[in-house]
């Protein structure tokens, strides 16, 4: 049974995937930084949804849906409408393409981000391992 995106269950599923993915663990062994997915309000989705992850040295130490950005202040924000996240998670939209074409807004230390693009790409690849549901 698919896990609905976005949701607390989905972000916890991603935590499990990351913590069991050897390649992510290796590539991200130096990564130190938490992030929040900001799924912007779009269409029938009247309110944004926030999902927080604490990523540390190739592991995910915490993952949960939060009420707003103040509940957990993250180093990085990845913000996009639901439809864009859906395409990224389904592998239909390259995450770098989403970033460069302004579909996905990245906020945070870009120096750190650009040094660790392989980590980011593997991270996104891991999202596709979840049996995600995208009910409108």
């Amino acid at each position: 049974m698919s896990i609905p995106f976005p949701s607390d269950a989905w972000i916890k599923a991603l935590q499990d995937v990351l913590n069991s993915d050897d390649e992510y663990g290796k590539i991200a062994s130096n990564w130190e930084g938490d992030l929040t997915f900001v799924v912007k309000a779009e269409g029938a989705r009247a309110k944004p949804i926030y999902m927080y992850m604490d990523l540390w040295h190739g592991k995910c130490r915490d993952a949960r849906q939060v009420a707003d950005l103040n509940e957990k202040k993250a180093a990085f924000l990845l913000a996009a409408p639901f439809s864009v996240f859906q395409k990224i998670v389904q592998g239909k939209l390259d995450p770098m393409q989403a970033m460069m074409t302004r579909q996905l807004k990245v906020t945070g230390n870009m120096v750190y981000m650009m040094r660790n693009v392989p980590t980011v790409l593997r991270f996104v690849k891991c999202t596709s391992k979840i049996d995600s549901g995208f009910a409108e």
Binding site: D94, Q97, A98, M100, K105, V106, M110, M114, R115, V117
Partner: protein, 617 residues
């Protein structure tokens, strides 16, 4: 007329006479401005027998309709002529504040003809134009020249574009520099200035620009806000143009050891990210730019200790870093500064030195050929000596001064040179982004990354509004249409003149142009302007001897890499070119735009020139 000065200043350096040439408004409509308008204006003058270093080579500085408007990344100008480096079409654009000052002085551009009998500089203050003696400035570097001229004209806000010693000595890849190290680097426009005994051009203007739409300022402010918030702008602001170097290295898109390797182990010591974390002291901008990609650095200690100076941009970092295997950012900064102050293009210089190193490694040359210098990868001191030798045209330096194509030919190893049509390949390896192979092979000024930075499309910067789509970066098939459209778009950038670093959407640029000029370009007409100018530049080069045989890549780039992110990628250039000629409407046998293509683009006179007495097409 709105958006334009409507006139160019003409200066005959032989006679010392000046004048003003009014331009037909239809020219602006058809060619927009910048390099495209220059191609139209210079078309008749650029003949096969024209010596680029003779007084007969016209040298045209041109701005665009948005230059000086404080629009998104449009504080630029372009310099055009016949290139002494390639003997074909030359254009080289430049940021800083010099371009806007031309507009504020009341002109769209400045056309230099002839040759002064002794060194001069030109001082333009609105409608007052003076030729001044520059004998005392001859031999000066590009930074001190600016300072001295500003003092002489008693105007600290004057903007000065000048050449260094390299331009004076007619090095084929000499540059023009203004402001804080902004350069018109490629195709040797500094040598053309030098050949005219023109040391510098100083401009100060006081005329406001006018725009057709009262809402223009509101529109350009909105475009600037969007640009400032753009992810790519953020990367450029925080790390400069080398912000992507770690990623390019990972992808195998960054060449190392003169294009023989991929993946530079010490990239973390020289990348833009490292610069930001270590020696960065500030940032610099061009006129009204919201990105501020320019770097200021301080080298606090060590062999290259210096106070605040310009930090290297991507091409200089890769050229002296991975390309020559230097992993010391201070040394790279020093070598980049040396090139700027002497007035040579750091891409062509580092590429030509790379060839020398490779020839030394392969035993083609020895210390007997190199003024006794051992050429070992990573030896920054040897590289510094070679730069000085080249600019002095002394010994082995005389060969380096002619560029890589001539250097390779001298030693009978033409195929070793990583160049196309005489212009050294920039540091984006097409094996990591195959569309760049097509770009390099067909660019009107040789292997140029600014006629289309298609590598950005290959990593995701698609433009669906004009059909430029991201595809498999290792594939060759099916890319020609996307590459062509991107070339037409960048041709428009070079017409506006808009920085290619600025991630400005096509329709935003079009709407700003319409608001500035009062024109009503549709998306289709606007893109066709790019296509028209692309075909015109091709026609100029056809007249100068370029054929389909020139649309090629050097051996190194057609050889698959054995390692890194682009390992095993083979560029199928013949297939790409076949598709490309179809898309562009060029004749595959001759490489010329067909008569029907030229006529469709309203270039009937050009069609008559190219196809007179010819039955085909």
């Amino acid at each position: 007329m709105s958006g334009y000065g409507g006139q160019i200043l003409t200066i005959n350096l032989t006679t010392g006479t000046t004048g003003v040439r009014t331009l037909d408004p239809q020219l602006f409509r058809d060619f927009v401005g910048g390099a495209s308008l220059a191609a139209k204006l210079l078309y008749e003058s650029l003949t096969p027998d024209l010596d680029p270093l003779s007084p007969d080579n016209p040298l045209l500085f041109l701005t665009g309709p948005l230059t000086g408007s404080s629009g998104p990344a449009v504080g630029r100008y372009v310099v055009c002529a016949k290139s002494p480096a390639t003997h074909i079409w030359a254009e080289s654009n430049c940021g800083g504040f010099f371009g806007p000052e031309i507009r504020f002085a009341g002109y769209d551009g400045i056309l230099f003809t002839g040759r002064a009998s002794s060194p001069v500089y030109v001082w333009i203050k609105n409608d007052k134009v003076e030729l001044r003696d520059a004998s005392h400035l001859w031999g000066g570097d590009t930074y001190e020249t600016q300072t001295r001229i500003k003092n002489e004209v008693n105007d600290s806000l004057a903007r000065v574009a000048c050449i260094g010693v390299a331009g004076e000595r007619l090095i084929s890849y000499a540059l023009i520099l203004n402001d804080h190290g902004r350069v018109a680097g490629r195709t040797g426009m500094g040598a053309v200035m030098g050949s005219k005994n023109l040391k510098a051009v100083a401009v100060r203007g006081g005329n406001p620009l006018s725009f057709a739409d009262p809402a223009f300022n509101q529109k350009r402010s909105r475009a600037n806000i969007e640009l400032r918030n753009d992810n790519v702008s953020q990367v450029l602001r925080e790390m400069g143009s080398s912000g992507g170097s770690d990623y390019f290295n990972y992808l195998g898109e960054m060449p190392a050891r003169y294009f023989s390797r991929s993946g530079f182990e010490s990239i973390d010591k020289v990348s833009g990210a490292t610069m930001s974390e270590t020696i960065l002291s500030g940032v610099s901008t061009c006129h009204a730019c919201v990105i501020a990609c320019g770097r200021k650095v301080i080298l606090p200690d060590g062999d290259y200790q210096r106070g605040e100076s310009k930090g290297p941009e991507y091409e200089t970092i890769v050229g002296f870093g991975p390309n020559l295997e230097i992993s010391d950012l201070a040394a790279i900064t020093h070598l980049g500064q040396l090139c700027d102050s002497l007035g040579v293009d750091s891409i062509s210089m580092s590429n030509t030195i790379g060839l020398a190193f490779m020839m030394y490694q392969e035993g083609v040359i020895t210390t007997k050929d190199t003024n006794g210098l051992e050429l070992r990868w990573g030896d920054a001191r040897a590289i510094e000596k070679l730069i000085h030798l080249a600019v002095k045209r002394e010994g082995f330096g005389e060969l380096l001064a002619r560029g890589s194509k001539a250097l390779a030919k001298h030693f009978g190893v033409e195929k070793m040179a990583v160049q196309v049509n005489g212009l050294e390949v920039a540091y984006h390896d097409p094996r990591g982004a195959t569309g760049m192979g097509l770009v390099y092979a067909t660019s009107p000024r040789g292997a140029c990354h600014n006629q289309s930075d298609y590598f950005m499309v290959e990593i995701g910067n698609s433009m669906s509004e004009i059909g430029v789509e991201m595809m498999d970066r290792a594939a060759s098939e099916g890319k020609a249409l996307s590459v062509s459209r991107h070339q037409w778009w960048r041709t428009l950038n070079n017409s506006l003149v808009m920085c290619v670093f600025a991630n400005v959407p096509f329709n935003t640029a079009r709407e700003l142009l319409n608001a500035a000029t009062g024109f009503d370009y549709s998306a289709e007409e606007f893109l066709r302007c790019g296509e028209r100018s692309w075909a015109l530049k091709r026609a100029i080069n056809n007249r100068l001897g370029i054929t389909a045989k020139n649309d090629t890549l050097p051996r190194a780039l057609l050889t698959p890499l054995s390692e890194g992110g682009a390992a095993g990628v083979v560029i199928n250039l013949p297939m790409m070119l076949k598709e490309y000629y179809d898309v562009q409407g060029w004749d595959a046998a001759t490489g010329k735009p067909t008569r029907s293509t030229l006529e469709r683009l309203d270039l009937k006179n050009v069609a008559d020139d190219l196809w007179i007495n010819t039955l085909s097409s």
